[in-house]
């Protein structure tokens, strides 16, 4: 996770305008992505080729999304944010590792969209292939658009596309998504920088906060069970999503 789905509601709850909150979150997503992607790249889990292929779509989406936000009305953004939060819950209710796609389709083989990973479930190094890259790519444009628009990594949506559409193993999809979100976040941040929405008084403490939080998260992760963490976030994200929809509708008087 980039942390944006928690950060934007938290900053708006503190009275910060949603556009400034989104811009601050977008920059801080670069920080969380840099930390987590560095660790997974070192362990050879992120697939740089698949990441590079999908970045060509997400950066365009990120720029378009951030451009929409810099012109959109704040209450509409709050409402959209809530809806996307509820959709983000979907990946939290699945996550069962099935056998990887053993044979890639023509498109995947043509681009070499495959690799190997160490599977704890199957206890060995397994070869995998991405399938339906021609669908996954354009869908990533939408994920990038939402990321840039809402100042989030849209990691949940990206993982969903990588898992369900492209058939990647959960570990590879999560780590590859972490690698992509930082580059998408830069695309969005560039628009917020030129729009004058990046305020150091909000952004600087947020960056330090998310970096400290991600380090604490890694320490906590080894002590907590994955199921407990998933349940906790499911309830948290659901509650924030409903609150944001209620807030957006309240401001819009719907």
């Amino acid at each position: 996770m980039g942390g944006g789905i928690i950060l934007v509601p938290a900053l708006t709850f503190l009275g910060i305008d949603v556009k400034h909150a989104i811009a601050a979150s977008m920059v801080s997503v670069i920080a969380t992505s840099s930390g987590s992607a560095a660790a997974s790249l070192r362990r050879g889990l992120s697939n740089v080729k698949i990441g590079t292929f999908l970045q060509t779509f997400t950066v365009i989406g990120g720029i378009i999304g951030a451009s929409i936000t810099s012109r959109a009305a704040s209450p509409v953004l709050v409402l959209i944010f809530g809806i996307i939060l509820l959709i983000s819950c979907l990946p939290l209710v699945r996550k069962i590792e099935g056998p990887p796609v053993a044979k890639g389709d023509r498109f995947g083989r043509l681009l070499g969209l495959g690799g190997t990973y160490e599977s704890l479930t199957y206890g060995s190094k397994l070869k995998y292939w991405a399938r339906r890259g021609y669908v996954g790519g354009p869908l990533m444009l939408i994920a990038g658009l939402l990321a840039g628009m809402l100042g989030i990594g849209a990691g949940a949506l990206k993982v969903l596309i990588l898992d369900v559409v492209m058939g990647l193993p959960p570990k590879v999809s999560t780590t590859t998504s972490n690698y992509i979100i930082g580059i998408t976040a830069l695309a969005g941040s560039s628009v917020y920088l030129s729009s004058g929405l990046i305020v150091p008084g909000i952004v600087a403490p947020t960056i330090l906060g998310v970096l400290t939080g991600s380090l604490l998260g890694i320490l906590l992760l080894v002590r907590l069970k994955a199921v407990e963490i998933r349940k906790f976030f499911l309830v948290l994200v659901l509650a924030i999503g409903i609150w944001m929809i209620y807030r957006g509708m309240d401001i819009l008087r719907l």
């Binding site: 840099s34 790249l41 950066v59 560039s190 150091p200």
Partner: protein, 120 residues
């Protein structure tokens, strides 16, 4: 840069960028609070593109004109520079591996980012 080496170079780039940025922001925020007694940094970043922000930050450091605010701005700029450099590094890595298909994709991402960071 061959095989696993691209991943190692990218991991190093991201780590160095995040640590350098966090260090500058920590020093900047600490000295700002020490000198002013608050953290009211309410003015947005003045530069409209990343490279002006970086240029101004490094120039102030080089000419001993840096202030707590300029250190914070430079820290944010370095964080934003990190993924930009990682895209350039992966493109060079693919070129060294003679993987022109991926070098072209990385190059395309780099051009789009450059356009967005410079031309807007």
């Amino acid at each position: 840069m061959k095989g696993m080496e691209i991943e190692a170079v990218l991991a190093l780039t991201l780590t160095v960028g995040a640590v350098a940025s966090a260090s500058l922001i920590t020093v900047g925020l600490g000295s700002y609070y020490y000198s002013k007694g608050n953290l009211s940094l309410n003015n947005p970043l003045s530069a409209k593109d990343l490279f002006s922000l970086l240029g101004s930050g490094f120039w102030k450091l080089d000419t001993n004109r840096s202030s707590p605010r300029s250190l914070i701005d430079l820290g944010i700029a370095i964080l934003m520079l990190t993924p930009y450099v990682s895209v350039a590094a992966s493109t060079v890595g693919f070129l060294v591996q003679k993987n022109l298909q991926y070098a072209a994709m990385g190059g395309l991402v780099w051009i789009i980012l450059s356009y967005s960071l410079l031309v807007r």
